[in-house]
Symmetry: C2
DNA sequence: ACCAACATACCGATTGGTCGGTTCCGGCCG
DNA sequence: CGGCCGGAACCGACCAATCGGTATGTTGGT
């Protein structure tokens, strides 16, 4: 995320001044993601936000209707990314065990790589308006159901146990993934891929029949 | 803070009026737990809070130094309860598989029974001062380690698999438990005991060797 | 000339917290 | 027994500060 900003900076043709030449909305998204995750939405004033992004209040309110609108944009970005990645894995070829393992490990990797997004996600939902909360929950539900379908596919094939509802398994798994934001620190010796591997192994162990 | 509760309790012999005769600090804790979980800490003004509790601002600031102090008291209450219950289960007799199953199912039950506390817990940590965040994390860490010890006990006995660190398993499990606050609604047909049973079964499946 | 893209100064509303006062109750003294 | 007293419990009007949002102005490209 930070490197993309750097890449955009380097790739940008016009070299106005010194740095931060990424488009303003993107700069705001980046700054908001960092500050909202660090101090929380309410503890981040609009002034701090625009200062960090290197723009002015007027610029921000030109692109976003409100502070909440900006928060919502953060949600939309992360939701779209997750759904896209899951769909890619689910539709790939190969046995369902492998596809589920890959999808499960991948969501951990991307979560670790975008920890800020996930911290915001599961901490600040209540800061959105009720309608937008519903919208986010709706999209999240689709994601959840897509994951469930994968499990049920394996259950029908007889490679996964059937005495536990797929719903329970999926909720348990995503709970663990969301929780990463509370304990995972990149300082640890375990990388996202390591933890993803462990988590996915544990998931398949759970689903082993018999 | 604690001594005032004792004093208020001792003085509360009279039965004034109709209802809500609980001591003032307790009333504030109850109101805060509900409102903080419903609307979030920042969205709850002190005025709303004291109105809900049926007391005045002066009364609140007599018992709590600040709004944050009240939030901290909520954390302390839930932390103490969880640690006590885990210790009871861990120290009970019987095979480690049964003790772990019982402890795992119990934490789900108590989480469901005190959903408001848990919603606050994993959503509002950042509203505390850095020192108090550390204190909460420290207590939580003790809890976590106590749970890990239980797993490791089973690993040494050979009844649990050893190719996954106990730390990972515990983090994954508590992640799932914390996440309950985001999807569990008592309207569902599944009660806390049901989900606790499922979760604990899944945990033991994960740990099954081979 | 016109419009999108910004910049800047400013405002109304709200909020956490304070502070001087009042009530109530148990204990102590005469 | 009764009057007094000290402090804990509690009240509620008030404040300083902050914040999200806006209104108006300016610029640069087409």
């Amino acid at each position: 995320m930070a490197d993309t900003a750097a890449a955009a900076d380097a790739a940008d043709t016009r070299s106005d001044g010194a740095e931060n030449s990424a488009p303003v909305p993107e700069r705001l998204l980046t700054a908001a993601t960092r500050l909202f995750a660090e101090r929380g939405v309410e503890r981040t004033s609009v002034q701090e936000l625009v200062d960090t992004a290197g723009v002015t209040k007027g610029a921000m309110y030109h692109y976003f209707a409100s502070k909440e609108d900006l928060l919502f944009a953060v949600y939309q970005r992360v939701l779209a990314m997750q759904m896209r990645r899951l769909e890619e894995r689910a539709q790939a070829g190969g046995p369902v065990r492998e596809r589920l393992h890959e999808a499960a490990a991948d969501v951990v990797r991307t979560t670790v790589e975008n920890l800020d997004d996930m911290v915001i996600y599961f901490r600040s939902l209540h800061m959105l308006s009720p309608e937008r909360q519903s919208e986010v929950r709706g999209e999240r539900r689709q994601y959840h159901e897509r994951f469930c379908e994968l499990i049920e596919e394996g259950q029908r094939q007889g490679v996964f146990r059937t005495d536990v509802p797929s719903d329970i398994v999926a909720n348990q798994y995503f709970g663990a993934v969301h929780h990463l934001g509370m304990w995972y620190r990149s300082a640890g010796e375990l990388g996202g891929a390591d933890i993803g591997g462990y988590f996915a192994d544990l998931l398949l162990s759970e689903l082993r029949p018999g």
